[in-house]
Structure formats: structure tokens, C-alpha cells
Symmetry: C2
Subunit: 239 residues, 2 copies
DNA sequence: GCATCAAGAATCGTATACACTTTCCGATAC
DNA sequence: GTATCGGAAAGTGTATACGATTCTTGATGC
């Protein structure tokens, strides 16, 4: 429906087919994160099932998983829609990140191995490359993965899971509320974080992460209506 | 299987039937929280479906939801088992609670209305009553609900959701690792928290919550093998 | 007597079928 | 011309059926 899940860019031709609910969920999450599926888009079970070559049973399981992560909203007897976070929800997500991520960055600084640091550096390089190539969707996703990687380094699975979920939602939030005028992306903040981690400086890593999150939140415009096409359509169709 | 989901105590006879996956999930979660379903117990789809009078389709959805909350563990082609949190997982859950709950208690202190305080007081009364009645399962569940209620008062849905999930897991953890010798339950800590909230004292609420969580964690025995029947059974049956 | 292996039963994974709800669209009344 | 009502179409909710995997159990060989 309107979005091209079938295009070569959306589905890797090498991968034969996910065929599993987890695979479908991952694929759909990727499409949402990279903004190929716009907030408010309705996902039909039949249609998605046909695209992935599986029955509605598998699709429904994938939808349920994504709904639990707040990437989709399920409306009984009406279907699944890509979530449209409200301004309030956006503030709450960043509030939660502010509670979790700074302390996690400190732990990461204390535990990071050379391999970890190399992985982070690679993330930053990829992010810059995507930006230069003009692929902002991919750049934003990689930017989020940088945060997830830090949480992983901290070696706290439970907190890492929460942070992963929050960053996943942040991706949607940014696509709705990002102010284009601040074109200078936050890459420098990630560079500084990496340096703090490499220096094993927990204090600085915590402080940097804290201010980075504040910067991120302040770069959003949470006062006006959400950006993009959905605002009009959603208003008219009252979903 | 072994546990009595069919007993009057397990299923309210007044309620005709949940019939929905959410209802089944709630009912099963309650049974796990009150330790009527022991960690490691296998839940058969057919059996649970027959008990609740619905098909496996509904049951599977409920299982998936509970697995996402770490109350169940799904093993492909083998079935659903009540989770058995490891000592490491227990530490992680309390680590996450330590990051989230103190600051949330502060917010709650700043926002609590008289109605909120009354609800908290009621929770404490119910908890004491359950303890006096010897129903420790119910008492522990109410003790957890006290924390959830504080998160709800803080009016942060996202964080509240995380805390709810963490407390849900804590219930399982406590059932596995609780040391019986500390019989004096934590009721006094809740009383003190309530007083801090009533006094609008955010600083004290935050401090009290922090120390309360430390006390809780230290009352667990995370060194030996998990308590209760599962330890032996699990060792023999190597799940 | 013990281990190994195979056939059967039990259970899960997926697809399909049917019932019910929602939505859409056209006809009718005002 | 507008609003309201009714029926058809589309889509979701649930149950059932069938294939695949795992577990059990009894027989066989060493």
C-alpha cells in the first residue's frame, strides 16, 4: 500500500526469504527505521504476507512483536499502522534515555576493549559515508546503532534491551520532529564519546552522553504539528 | 501440567472467560507472579488452550507477549516454559531499577495528588493484610504494585512501562533467590516512601527509593543455586 | 545389563477456512 | 443537494487441519 517494500532496495535479493516471524519483523523494523515506511501507513496482513511469501499467521506474530516495541500500533478489527509518536511520547522517550544512557556510557568506558573501540570507529565511518552519500535514512539508523553498541559494550543485557527499544522509537521520533535547519549532524558528539571511551574516562563519557542527549532533544521541534505527509492525511482520516 | 490452573483459586469463577489473548496473558502473568506456576514449568499450548476455552492461536499470542516480558521462555519446537532468571539477570534487573526508580520516585513526590496518596496507602494496607493472612504470594505482588503505582503517579508512561516490566521480573527473581531468614518484610520502607511523597519531599523520596532497592537486592542470595523445587528438577532434566 | 536405534505418540509451526467487524458506496427519502 | 440507511466488499479474529520436529518407549544388538 503506497510504500515500495518490493523494490530491490527494500529487500535484499540474495536473501531468499525470511520465512520466519522474526525475519519479517526485522525487515519491517528496518524499513520503518530508514523511513521507507512513513508513520501512519497501514500495513495489510494479506499484502505483507504476499510480499514475504508467508501466511498471515507469521505476519501477525511479526506485527505483535513490533507493536510491543511501539513501532506499530494495532487497532482491533482495523489493522496495523506505523506508529506516530506524539510530542509527549517523544519527550518521554528522551527522558528515559537520559536516565539510562549516561550511566551506561560510563560503564562502557570502564569495560571497552580495543575490538569494541574499533567497532565504534567503524560505525562512525559508515555513518559519515552514508551522510556524504546523501542517504540520511541509513545515516540516522547507523547513528542509533552507535548508541546501541555502547550499551552492548557496557555488558548489561537488560538495560541494553531497553536502550535498543528507546533508540528504535527515537528513529521514528526524529523522522517526525527533526528540524531541517540544524544540518550539522551530531557526528562530532559521537567522535568525542569515542575518545572518552578510548581514554577510559568514565566521568567524561557520562557527561558527554548526557549533553549529547540534551542536544538531540533540543534539535527537535516538539511544538508544531508533526512533520511529513501524515499530519494532513491523519487529520482528514482521523486515525 | 502439575500446577493447578483449574482450581477455583486460580481462575475467578465470576469472570466467564478472558477469551482474548490479553486476558489469557494477564491471567498467566498473575499465576506466575503469585508463584502458582513455578519457574521451569512447561506450559502446553493445547492444555492451556483447553483450560481457557480458546484455540491455540490465542494462546500462542499470549505466550509471545509474556516471552517479550521475560516471564516465559519460548524454545522453538519445544514449547513455552516459565522463566528461570539467572543470578546475573537478577543483578541486571535491579541495576536497571536503580537507574529508573529513584528519579521516578522524585517526580512522583512532586506530582502526587491526595487521591494518589490514598491509593498508595490502600496498597500498603492490602499488603499488610495479605502478609498477616500468610498469603506471601499475594503480598509480594502487592508490594510490586506499590512501585508500579509510584511510577504511574510520576506520569511518565514510557518509564512506567519499563518499571512495570522490571518489577514483573523481580517477582520471579524474588521467588527464586529470596532468603527466608530476613522475615521482616520491607513494609517499613514503603511506609517511609509514602511519608516522603505526602510531604512532597523529592530529595528524600529519591534517597529512600535508592536505599530500598539496595536493601532488596542485598536480601537476595545470588551466590548459591536458585531456591525452590526447580533447582533439582532443572538439573536432572537439563532444560 | 546397558547402550543404541527405530517406530509411535505428542507437540509445535504454518497454512487455510470461516465468522465477524469495519468500511465503502450507492440508493432512497427529505 | 444533502443526509441517512442498507448491502456488498474488504480485512481482521479465531478455529481447525496438516506437515514437521521432538520426545517417548520398546525392541534389538553387543
Amino acid at each position: 500500500m503506497s510504500q515500495d517494500l518490493t523494490s530491490p532496495a527494500a529487500r535484499d535479493p540474495d536473501a531468499p526469504a525470511p520465512a520466519t516471524s522474526e525475519g519479517v519483523a526485522t525487515e519491517l523494523a528496518l524499513a520503518i527505521h530508514e523511513h521507507r515506511l512513513a508513520p501512519g501507513t497501514k500495513l495489510s496482513e494479506d499484502e505483507v504476507g504476499e510480499i514475504f511469501g508467508v501466511s498471515r499467521t507469521v505476519i501477525r506474530a511479526a506485527f505483535q512483536r513490533l507493536a510491543h516495541d511501539h513501532l506499530l500500533v494495532l487497532k482491533r478489527n482495523r489493522g496495523a499502522f506505523v506508529a506516530q509518536p506524539t510530542a509527549r511520547e517523544a519527550r518521554e522517550v528522551f527522558e528515559a534515555r537520559a536516565l539510562l544512557e549516561p550511566r551506561t556510557a560510563r560503564s562502557a568506558a570502564e569495560r571497552a576493549t580495543p575490538a569494541d573501540l574499533a567497532a565504534l570507529e567503524r560505525h562512525i565511518r559508515d555513518e559519515h559515508a552514508a551522510l556524504d552519500a546523501g542517504d540520511t535514512g541509513r545515516a540516522l539508523r547507523l547513528s542509533g546503532l552507535f548508541h546501541v553498541e555502547i550499551a552492548r559494550i557496557a555488558d548489561q543485557d537488560t538495560i541494553c534491551e531497553f536502550i535498543t527499544s528507546l533508540i528504535s522509537r527515537s528513529s521514528l521520533i526524529i523522522s517526525l520532529y527533526w528540524q531541517r535547519r540544524t544540518a550539522i549532524c551530531e557526528s562530532h558528539a559521537h567522535d568525542a564519546l569515542l575518545r572518552a571511551l578510548a581514554a577510559r574516562d568514565g566521568d567524561q563519557a557520562e557527561a558527554l552522553m548526557k549533553s549529547h542527549l540534551i542536544d538531540l532533544l533540543s534539535s527537535l521541534d516538539l511544538h508544531g504539528a508533526p512533520e511529513g505527509s501524515p499530519s494532513l492525511r491523519a487529520a482528514l482520516r482521523r486515525d
